[in-house]
Amino acid sequence: MAAHAEAAIEIEARRSWGRSYFTRRYLLVLPPMVIMVLFLIGGIFADVIAPGDPGQTHLLSRLEAPVFSGGTSEFPLGTDHVGRDIWTRIVHGARVSLIVVAIVVPGAALFGTAVGMFAGWRGGIVGQLLMRYVDVQLALPAILFAVLLGAVLGASLRNVIIILLVWTWTVYARLIRAEVLSLKEREFVVASLAAGGSNWWIMRKQLLPNVFNTIVVVMTLEIPIVIVAEASLSFLGVGAPVEQATWGRMITEARNYLTHAWWVMWMPGLALMLVALSGNLVGDWLRDLLDPRLRNLG
């Protein structure tokens, strides 16, 4: 009900802003899109863009300033406390984030959708139990369980991916279940059932196409969440192993040099914030375009 009211308000707001709303919206979403594409390219071609070894230390050039702040072009964004090139580490950090996103987001979407479909369509005791579990997990601070799992499993990229998969699939399950529950009552689905359509056929041909937009929108919105979650785990010391350059770990290590070498913390922090912000803006835009009902998802 609230969602309808909000959608109506938005439509009204758009009208009052004039016809240029959509063109303006395009212009607004362009910069974040460019940043996301750069993030993608940076992650994929990390070895080409920054051919150096991200772990290579230069003990004679520790805490060197970036080139625009009095440094040399050898280290365009400066160096950290053991003389590692920050630019190289940021680019390779983007690769780590990208790998995590590329596995976690589709993986969680697949599993969450499957559970949501099952719980919505078949229900039963198993469905109920699954959804109760989802409720419990969504109600508790995921970060604590993630750190617990991380501490027990040990630091590795594979474990980070496992943790984030466990962390994020519930969102899809809950939403898809709700959608399927309402689709179930719709006439075209009831008609298919009456005409003898098999469960599998209805799920594939009628339910999935109808929840597809929701899945795409939530996946987009989950990209920045997963990136920030991975960085948070690294920040708390249970993320990827020490030898891997990640944005979260770079920020943690830089905390002690906050006062006299600002760039060590600011460079990875800005990268993280820009990507998270852009992902959010692109996600919002896509949601308004494809599935405005999800607006009050928060």
Partner: protein, 309 residues
């Protein structure tokens, strides 16, 4: 009658949630982790290991361990901390006040920033105020909280020394962590208040209130805002949970003495009894917080009082 039933059902749910939490921690710590290795010095002999396993009951079959553990937990005994002295639950209880303070301050920031911004943005749509509010919302939603905390420390505690960089001494040390914690929720409250106010200011009863000559202030505060606050109340419980969860990272960033930081430390030290006790306390406070918000909500808005769960 129905109210009492509802209360009972929700209390039962709380118990189930806590049981699930305790079980998860049990499974994770006993099946995957080795509690005894974290307790022993590096030169411990095999006999030493055998002794400690016997002492902790780790040689019993898992199901026996689980039964014993649940039995103790029901009686409020969550074991002794492996790394600190004293029962785990007492160590956690010591830190409760810190987290409560921080969460409450975060909630005050969230509401104190979100509601006025939302109202102002709604009343002057398309104005610079509206754009500022949207900007706060976008940034609040996208900025990782630990990064926001570090930026606040950088600008307000090291560039100018208005606030301390860490610790919990006095009111001033609470300002930065509360802000870093509350901004995300402020963004949510802002958006809801804004759309709620836009919605309500076009209704007939607002026109009536204006027509009978009330001044605009009264119309907005007494008639408009009151109505717009209902959706805010709905998500208050969820936001409270988010704030408690968010306080974990904020406590680490600001070295704030609370449950979150204790838990992270305990997890990294494999101090499972403390972790268990901490998770039980957090789970209980989140579900109970939700319950209280839900009940208040039903009292405030009689229309949903009769609705089911």
């Amino acid at each position: 009658m129905q109210f009492a039933n509802l209360l009972l059902v929700r209390l039962l749910q709380t118990v189930v949630v806590i049981w699930v939490v305790v079980s998860i921690v049990f499974v994770v710590s006993r099946l995957i982790g080795n509690p005894e290795t974290s307790l022993m010095p590096w030169d411990a002999t095999n006999e030493d290991y055998e002794r400690i396993r016997e002492k902790l009951g780790l040689n019993d079959p898992l199901i026996v361990q689980y039964g014993k553990f649940l039995g103790d937990a029901v009686q409020g005994d969550l074991g002794f901390s492996y790394h600190r002295t004293g029962p785990a639950i007492d160590i956690v209880a010591d830190k409760v006040l810190g987290t409560v303070k921080l969460t409450a301050a975060g909630l005050i920031v969230a509401l104190g920033l979100g509601l006025p911004l939302g109202v102002l943005a709604a009343l002057r749509r398309g104005s610079p105020m509206d754009w500022l509010a949207r900007l706060v919302a976008v940034f609040g939603q996208a900025t990782p909280s630990f990064w926001l905390g570090l930026m606040l420390i950088f600008f307000l505690a090291t560039k100018v020394s208005w606030f301390p960089t860490a610790g919990a001494e006095g009111f001033r040390s609470l300002v930065l962590p509360a802000f870093a914690l509350g901004l995300l929720s402020a963004a949510g409250f802002m958006r809801l208040t804004r759309s709620g106010m836009i919605d309500v200011m076009n209704t007939d009863f607002i026109r009536t209130a204006r027509a009978k000559g009330l001044n605009e202030r009264t119309v907005i505060m007494r008639h408009g805002l009151r109505h717009a606050l209902i959706p805010v109340m709905t998500i208050l419980g969820i936001e409270l949970g988010r704030l408690i969860a968010g306080s974990v990272i904020i406590e680490v960033v600001f070295s704030w003495p609370g449950i979150g930081r204790l838990m992270i430390e305990s997890i990294l030290q494999s101090d499972y009894p403390t972790v268990q006790a901490g998770l039980v306390v957090i789970a209980a406070s989140i579900t109970l917080g939700n319950l209280i918000v839900d009940m208040t909500y039903r009292v405030i808005d009689p229309r949903i009082r009769m609705a089911a769960l």
